[in-house]
Symmetry: C2
Subunit: 197 residues, 2 copies
DNA sequence: GAGCTTAGCGACCGGTCGTGCTCTTTTCTA
DNA sequence: TAGAAAAGAGCACGACCGGTCGCTAAGCTC
């Protein structure tokens, strides 16, 4: 059971790439099969249906997100260092790792937010987990710790800046987007850690 | 040439509704025709092709956006009143006017940002125009006017908060999203108008 | 290396896609 | 009100969609 797993991984890789470009629904099994060097029917030895593949794509994207953003940050001291690392890797994820297609998590969010089903539920669960982790990190940003409300507000702004950067760069062609986001985030950290309880 | 225009408007209305739900590519001419009470071929008396309809949808969405956000604000005194009005109407636009589907401009942005062609170009042009208008409004927020850089940074954050609210509410089910966005924006206005040159 | 398991192929299914064609009905205009 | 012009129906097309089936060939285990 080794060759099979490798092939499945290749299929998923390609499907994820295409989903980032055209959305989950826009992925054609024919195109995926061709790109991987398989026949269409060969795909069905690895996935029961297209929705099954959708689910696997969501899983793969969120796994990779964790690996590239959460993991490296978790090895730093809590608070500001971690938050800065997360933000930096997050921007990087949108900007470089998916340069041709834009952040797949944003794409999936917009596509799935009104489309009930297992893919949406999985994405929702993973994003909630990430939110919780980061919000907790905000709590320990100041010595008398932030209130839950404050931490949530900070996370809201942090994610907003990531979304803003992605939108500005991709849709508006704004080359300064990253600097704008970075500056806004640093200011947010300053404000948040300075503010009195 | 009156009945025709009315029918075309109805078609566009429905196509826009569906595009907000499933994206431009996801719109089925069959479904649109059926919903409007026409045959599929009847549609082609009003649009040369599907891409032609895509373009008209983008035009309609951005026109309505102007009408609902820019127009009411333009009747207020410049500076803070206008900015607050724009932000409030903008959030409203995402939250209510497209309650079931999410802000169509975000949807279109994500879908079109890597899809060259007339629809993308039109959307890009309209969004640039809007950005310019709002950025100019930021300039007159303070007596010694903001620098271009400051105004652009402020617009970046403003748009980020709108994106953040839409994402938080739709994908994360965050009922407080609007309040978070509103608070963040008010704080942004305070900071921006207070900051020394 | 025999034998079971699994990966993969090719043909094919019913259905839907966007689009062209011809023909009829409705609407507008002079 | 007659006649031109526009609106729309009906149908058929070729391409493509996700998916099934039976078969072969390769891989894995003992």
């Amino acid at each position: 059971m080794k060759k099979g797993e490798a092939t499945k991984a290749r299929i998923l890789e390609e499907a994820t790439r295409q989903a980032a470009l055209r959305g989950l629904t826009g992925v054609s099994l024919n195109d995926v099969a061709e790109a991987v060097g398989l026949s269409k029917s060969g795909l069905f030895k690895h996935f029961e249906s297209k929705e099954d593949m959708h689910l696997a794509v969501v899983q793969m994207v969120t796994d990779r997100f964790s690996e590239l953003i959460r993991l490296p940050a978790s090895q730093l001291p809590p608070g500001r260092p971690r938050l800065e690392k997360i933000f930096e890797r997050w921007l990087q994820w949108c900007e470089d790792d998916w340069a041709e297609s834009g952040c797949p998590i944003m794409q999936l969010s917009v596509e799935l937010d009104d489309q009930p089903g297992p893919p949406r539920d999985l994405l929702h669960k993973q994003l909630q987990g990430f939110r919780k982790t980061v919000t907790r990190e905000f709590l320990s940003l100041r010595d008398p710790p932030l209130s839950d409300r404050e931490a949530q507000a900070a996370y809201f702004q942090m994610k907003s800046f990531v979304l803003g950067q992605s939108d500005a760069r991709r849709m508006m062609g704004d080359a300064d987007a990253r600097r704008s986001a970075q500056a806004a985030f640093e200011a947010l950290l300053d404000r948040t850690s300075r503010a009195a309880a």
